[in-house]
């Protein structure tokens, strides 16, 4: 068990799942995107990363998934260094990516091909489609589905790979407000459903309301090159309501971190 201190309070957390140490990424020696990034996620925890545009949040998430090699630093999953892309760390993209020539079921099954028998793959895929609330749409093609439904398929696909960690790169940014709200309200129960093996989630977002609604803990990125400038625990019971004054206190706290005083 680990103990971490947030904002002066002490709390007992679960096991460390994903950890990165001194992570840095640069396009060239003169163009450093971020440096000295140290992040940890614990069991059953949804961690958010926020930061202004251009701080390299999407790049960081790809480095965590090992899709891009870091310039410096290391990523560990359950204490073992990750040196190549792994389906243990699933990425859900900002641009909702589903294969247009595959049905919803095939889009989910693609991550299971040649790993389990076809019957078993179908069973798992159907279970995940049900989990994201799309039962009955298994034979639909992406173009027959709305943006929200497509993103649910992408999430079902990520879950079907039985990941330990799920990385979500602004997953609701391309959805209309109503659909995004609806999916936000369900996403926590979907990802932390006992039906799947997921241990923790990292969410990248610049929507502060979304972050306060979903995250257990928030890392704030800022500066040039970007670094972690603050870490905030969102100590609110679930389900969270935007109507509560304390919700806005958290939003304001994040806002103050992100926007320099002189710009407010």
């Amino acid at each position: 068990m680990n103990t971490q201190v947030f904002n002066g309070s002490s709390e007992t957390l679960g096991e460390v799942q994903l950890e990165c140490k001194d992570l840095a990424y640069s396009y060239s020696s003169s163009h450093v995107i971020f440096k000295d990034i140290n992040i940890k996620t614990y069991t059953d925890e949804l961690v958010a990363i926020v930061g202004p545009s251009g701080t390299g949040k999407s790049t960081l998430i790809r480095v965590l998934a090992n899709l891009i090699p870091p310039t410096a630093g290391h990523v560990f999953l359950n204490g073992i260094e990750v040196k190549a892309p792994s389906s243990q760390i699933s990425l859900v993209h900002q641009s909702i990516a589903t294969f247009p020539w595959m049905t919803a079921l095939d889009n989910v099954k693609i991550v299971l091909r040649n790993k389990v028998k076809d019957d078993e793959a179908t069973e798992i895929a159907k279970k995940m489609i049900t989990l994201v609330g799309l039962q009955g749409h298994e034979d639909n093609y992406p173009k027959e589905m709305s943006g929200g439904m497509r993103q649910r398929i992408a999430i079902a696909r990520a879950l079907a790979a039985s990941p330990t960690i799920m990385l979500m790169d602004e997953p609701f940014v391309h959805l209309d407000e109503l659909t995004a709200n609806s999916l936000r309200s369900e996403i926590y129960s979907i990802v932390f459903n006992p039906e799947n093996d997921l241990k923790s989630v990292i969410l990248v977002s610049h929507n502060l309301h979304e972050v306060v609604q979903l995250a257990d803990r928030v890392y704030v990125m800022g500066g040039t090159p970007a670094q972690i400038i603050n870490e905030i625990k969102i100590d609110l019971p679930r389900p969270r309501s935007e109507e509560e004054p304390i919700f806005y206190e958290y939003v304001k706290m994040l806002y103050n971190d992100l926007i320099p005083k002189e710009s407010r």
């Binding site: 790809r62 998934a65 899709l67 892309p85 792994s86 389906s87 760390i89 699933s90 990425l91 993209h93 900002q94 641009s95 909702i96 990516a97 589903t98 294969f99 247009p100 020539w101 595959m102 693609i110 991550v111 091909r113 040649n114 992406p142 173009k143 943006g147 497509r150 993103q151 790979a161 391309h174 959805l175 209309d176």
Partner: protein, 542 residues
């Protein structure tokens, strides 16, 4: 052979090709504009281009011989005949590409141009023409390569005992190889290689520039620090991007410098220009159709009636010969496909190697295989005759076809892979999707539209390769390469032996079969590709 003669001949050949590429591009803009504005014209135009694209250059030889050589006659007739053959190798690919570019201009941009009353010329120079640059820049590669591939047929051809030739490097190479003059062949190839490398580099830079500046992919970096080459003869303005021009127009309009009345006068004038543009496009199309119709009638009339009956009687045999050729085309296409997929995929995952090797592949593909093939033949003929005497000729035919065609499907696949959104490639890495699953379920479906286009061009070019390889008299010294059975041999031999009627009938039969094949097979595949395999539709980004 004198080196300055070789250099001049190379300049003449390359100049001929470049000038005809320019003619193709300019005429294509007019025709494509009319095609997107008139559904009736579009239907005729696209069918016409598709069918003619499928007919190899040699299929036009009977027309060329009758109309230009017999009709016009003299040096001018031979020159126009050669130009027409080169034009035929170049034009279809460019025309269809421009049409597709015009067809895919985003509706909001078209609406802005209508909204602000750009007029016909305003729309052409600010929207349609700039938008077609990326497509044109990619299409001139295969067109240039195709033109050079046929250089040996276009610049020098024989009918019976009469040989017709124009001044060019193709003619010099044919003369040198026929005489067995190896030194001159090497010199010609060397000088031609320099020209090809320089032009390929220029095309490559233009392509990068056009894609960066005029493409819709905003992630491509525009190299602003380079002032791109600006030939003084052509007042070509690289800063005339659609965005730049649009901004100028909209600012002008917003500033309210013109009152409504003068604006209306301008709109009326622009409509008049638009009509003029349509008339020019329609006139080009009609001229071409009239020429083809007139030429066909001339060919028919040049052969006695009784002879035609004899040719008709040979139809079953000709169809059988074409069937054999289809098998050859199938083999070449399958080999090209497998080779293109393997090499293309390897280069995709090895980026450094691809950066170094792609310009080399581009140059090799542009270098005309028939120019150096006689040397390959001379070096290997006796060895193959001893080791595999039963298939020696077929191997030569296949090699030449492959060398002249593989790059179509290769570049098609390459462009297709590069067009796959990065999210999908990340998914394959992230979920560790196996090689065969990835190829079968993701890469090949995602590149399907590009593969269909590439395969279609490969098949068309394979016919051209067969036309060259199935009957090649005096390929080296006094040796003749010829197959036992094949439609293309009948056409080539018919021309060489002065039997133009048979060659014309065989060409017509071939055109009909290829046209039907194009409508039934290629078009259905293209429709399937458009309906189901558009990878960009897989990205939902509101």
């Amino acid at each position: 052979m004198e080196l300055d003669t070789i250099a001049l001949a190379t300049l003449a050949s390359l100049g001929r090709v470049m000038a005809l590429i320019l003619v193709s591009i300019v005429s294509g803009w007019f025709l494509s504009y009319v095609a997107i504005k008139s559904r009736k014209f579009e239907n005729i135009y696209i069918s016409f281009v598709n069918i003619f694209e499928s007919i190899p250059v040699i299929g036009f030889l009977p027309i060329v011989l009758v109309v230009f050589i017999s009709g016009l006659g003299g040096t001018l007739g031979v020159e126009v005949a050669a130009d027409f053959l080169v034009f035929d190798a170049i034009v279809w690919n460019i025309w269809i590409g421009q049409y597709q570019a015009f067809k895919t201009i985003p509706q909001p941009l078209i609406e802005v141009s209508e909204n602000y009353g750009f007029g016909w010329w305003g729309k052409m120079k600010s929207l349609y023409i700039p938008f077609s640059y990326p497509r044109v820049s990619s299409d001139i590669f295969p067109s240039f390569a195709d033109a050079l591939f046929y250089i040996m047929i276009s610049e020098v051809f024989s009918v019976g005992i009469t040989a017709y030739k124009v001044f060019g490097i193709g003619t010099l190479i044919v003369q040198a190889t026929s005489a067995g003059d190896l030194n001159s062949v090497y010199e010609c190839l060397g000088v031609l290689a320099i020209g090809v490398v320089l032009i390929t580099l220029a095309f490559s830079n233009f392509s990068k520039y056009a894609v960066a500046k005029y493409g819709l992919n905003t992630s491509t970096e525009i190299k602003r620090h380079v002032r791109y080459w600006r030939p003084h003869i052509i007042r070509w303005r690289p800063t005339a991007s659609p965005t730049f021009q649009f901004a100028r127009y909209t600012t002008k309009m917003r500033a309210g410098r013109e009152n409504i009345q003068s604006a209306m006068t301008k709109v009326r004038a622009s409509h008049s220009f638009e009509r003029t543009g349509k008339y020019i496009g329609t006139a080009i199309a009609w001229l071409f159709l009239i020429f083809i119709g007139y030429s066909s009638i001339q060919v028919m009339l040049s052969v006695p009636h009784s002879q035609w009956i004899n040719y008709f009687a040979q139809t079953p045999n000709l169809l059988y010969q074409m069937g054999i050729d289809y098998i050859r085309v199938l083999v070449v296409t399958v080999v090209s496909f497998v080779f293109a997929i393997s090499l293309g995929y390897y280069l995709t995952v090895h980026k450094r190697i691809s950066i170094a090797s792609l310009p080399i592949i581009q140059t090799i593909s542009a270098f005309p295989a028939p120019a150096y093939f006689p040397l390959v033949f001379a070096a290997t003929a006796s060895f193959l005759a001893h080791t595999i005497p039963f298939a020696e000729t077929e191997i030569f035919v296949m090699i030449l076809c492959f060398l002249g065609t593989f790059y179509y499907v290769f570049f098609g696949f390459w462009v297709g892979v590069r067009a796959i959104p990065v999210e999908f490639l990340e998914l394959t890495q992230n979920y560790k999707i196996g090689f065969f699953t990835k190829m079968r379920r993701i890469i090949i479906p995602a590149t399907f539209p590009y593969l269909v286009t590439g395969l279609s061009s490969t098949i068309n070019s394979a016919w051209g390769g067969l036309a060259v390889a199935e009957y090649w008299p005096n390929i080296f010294g006094n040796q003749t390469l010829q197959v036992h059975t094949g439609m293309m041999k009948i056409i080539s031999a018919g021309l060489v032996n002065g039997n133009i009627g048979l060659a014309a009938w065989a060409s017509l039969l071939f055109a009909i079969v290829v046209g039907v094949y194009s409508i039934v097979f290629t078009r259905n595949l293209m429709d399937l590709a458009r309906k189901k395999y558009v990878i960009e539709e897989g990205i939902y980004a509101a």
